[in-house]
Amino acid sequence: MLALLPGRLFWQAAAVAFVVIGAAGGAVMLSIGGLGMLGQSLVPAVLATAIAALVIGVLAGQINVALAHSMEKARLEYEHKIEEKTAALSHREVELRSTLENMFQGVAMYDSNYKLLTWNQRFREYLDMPEEFLTGNRTFIDYLRYVGQRGEFGDTNIEDVIKQRVEQLKRKHSFERVRPDGTVLEVYRNPTPDGGFIAIYTDITERKRAEQELTQAMEAAEAANRVKSGFLANMSHELRTPLNAIIGYSQMLQEEAADDGQEGFLPDLAKIEGAGKHLLGLINDILDLSKIEAGRMTVFMEDANIAGVITEVRGIIEPLAAKNGNQLVVECPATIGTFQTDVTKLKQSLLNLLSNASKFTKNGKVTLAISRSGADADESITFRVSDTGIGMSDEQMSKLFQAFAQADSSTTRKFGGTGLGLAITRHFARMLGGDVTVSSEPGKGSAFTLVLPMHPDAAAQAAAATASPKRAVSGDIQSERTVLVVDDDETVHDLVGTMLGREGYRVLHARSGQEALTLARTEHPDAITLDVMMPQMDGWSVLTTLKSDATLAEIPVVMLTMLNERAIALQLGASGYLTKPVDWAQLSAILKRLGRRDGATASVLIVEDDSEVRDMTRRMLERIGMQIGEAANGEEGLAWLAQNPAPSVILLDLMMPVMDGFEFLDRIRQNDKWRDLPVVVVTAKALDAKEMELLRRMTQKVIDKGASTGVDLRAAIRDVVKKSSKPVPATTA
């Protein structure tokens, strides 16, 4: 506002002007007055003007002083404010500089011409940047060139790298860089609104070292775990062999003693047999539990004829029940049918529940009631074992399913048993998608209810959807490259996830086959690592499903398999597999399941080079009413397919001349007409080197989990992803 008012100079000039006019006027007056007579009217006018001028002059002078005063005051205030602001800014600058200089990270900001605006000492140290780049007219690009010339980009063309780096500057990105002295820097760059960018450098050498140690520790733990599993498997055999001798010999001696009239020996011999059997039961249970806890217990799903299983179980339990004077009642509707489950585990669980019931009941009744409930995907089957025995208190029930804790220690002495059976039964129930519950009243009896889903796959899918997620996504979340890791073993997720994340991939985690398929469908990852051994739906089933889904078949898959699971590794894009010699019962079950769809007579195409085997297979299958087509190798197989209506299933040998099974499989999967044909792969038990080689070809890469180091897997993934057409993410220099 001060600027709008006329300046001090103006008022000063005005004042002087008016005083002069006034004085001049006065002088004129006096001179005119001396002349007297001339201007009587003029004198008062001029006199008035002179007085007015003088007054104005004086006033102007006053205004001038006042204005000058206030302007001075304003000016002083203004200057004061400027000083304050400057001081504040300066203080701020000191603070910022202090912050920048004390930061652990190196910071550098560039303008839109890529010239350095701000940087800190750490930045300079980390990059070992010469003075000229910091103060001169050098740009970021000049610096890159300098670095390239020093050889830090390796063998790649310097200008290419520079172009690539500049391109990257348009987006937020980060990567790792190893300096010549071994330090590992994490470089983070973000564009700024004015067209420049800011770069932040973090020394992650320590972190890398820690990660590496962690990886090594995990690998060591994995290896130790495998040794333990191998040990357990061996011990199983070692433990059972002498026990079988004890049981066998004591039985034999009892027979001999009875025949030789030496009844006196019988009770003692019976005790030896009893102790041996008890010990065997304990060992079996402990080994089962160890396997379960090591995550090595697998589930073998098959069509279970419920009535058949019940009959077997009843046969074993009846004598046991009778020993205690108990009546065994089985309530099973005739229409109970069949369902998909692990028969061995179901039997073991039922036997456990029923033998418990028989043991803890005297002169009472043990009932096994079976029923179905629910509908469609939620349909379930219930096995209820109830007894009129001693029952349990709430406290006893609370410890029931814990391993090694029988209701109380006197129970073991009185009733026998290992205390592990129920823990195992519940594990099994859960592995099969169900559960075991108990209700009881002391003195009245107990009821154990085993519920299993009739359609385990559907149930698993539902469970996967509602299960609380463990880490679902990790790695470089911004990356456009995604890898889906499928494994039930959490350590693999940690290991592989960390590794792939460092490589610049976004990592998705699936802990079951069902989850994997769901994620694959919604996320369309660029690659999938797939564990072979998983409960409920193993890796091969997942692979099969992936390869037979047109939207997913293109995704490259890396199988992770244990050394000794190699033999199973042939279920490639196959709907089933068998080992030679062909298992007719299994085959006919598979065929029945596959042929169910049309209802028409099933036809089978046998692709097998050994004419005797082909002959035998044909006869076996004709006997069960199948129509047969034959081909001696893959090429003939394709020719047959081209000339005949599609068979219900193809029995495919792998090792054939002219065109082997792998190639045949490959070809039919590429043909829309034949893509969905179920193929049962038939193979010899042991895989030789040649087969392993073919196997590698077919599944992109098969990695031995046992032998793999992080590097192998990374290389495999890179390799496999490179083969698809998209470019690989920017990696370290």
């Binding site: 079988n244 001798a245 034999m252 298992d583």
Partner: protein, 124 residues
């Protein structure tokens, strides 16, 4: 008196089983591995073969296959003795040509029953 060939590599199992069978009136031949099992089957033509599946030199499946393939021994009933009750093992034994199977540890009365059944079948 029926002649049974017992092909079993474990000494104690062999001892127990052969003695119990002999006490029941069978004459028992022993072979400690698959190779010798096939040879004895060919030279002695027993009335029945008890074949352990885990054998050295030539395993039980292969030995059974060979026995069933050869003219002179094809009609001899074979009972497989498998250590595991795994679904796969059982069916593999059947596919190799075994006429029946039993699990180890052997339940002697049950095994006897199976032996008698098979021997009955062969008799005219």
């Amino acid at each position: 008196m029926a002649k049974i060939l017992l092909v079993e590599d474990n000494e104690m199992n062999r001892d127990m089983l052969s003695r119990r069978l002999e006490r029941k009136g069978f004459s028992v031949l022993i072979a400690p591995d698959g190779r010798q099992g096939i040879d004895l089957a060919t030279s002695e033509t027993p009335d029945l073969i008890l074949m352990d599946m885990d054998l050295p030199v030539v395993d039980g499946w292969e030995a059974t296959r060979q026995v069933k393939a050869a003219e002179g021994t094809r009609s001899i009933p074979v009972i497989a003795l498998t250590a595991h009750a795994m679904v796969g093992d059982r069916d593999r034994a059947m596919a190799a040509g075994c006429d029946d199977y039993d699990t180890k540890p052997v339940d002697f009365p049950r095994l006897l029953g199976k032996i008698e059944t098979l021997l009955q079948r062969v008799k005219p």
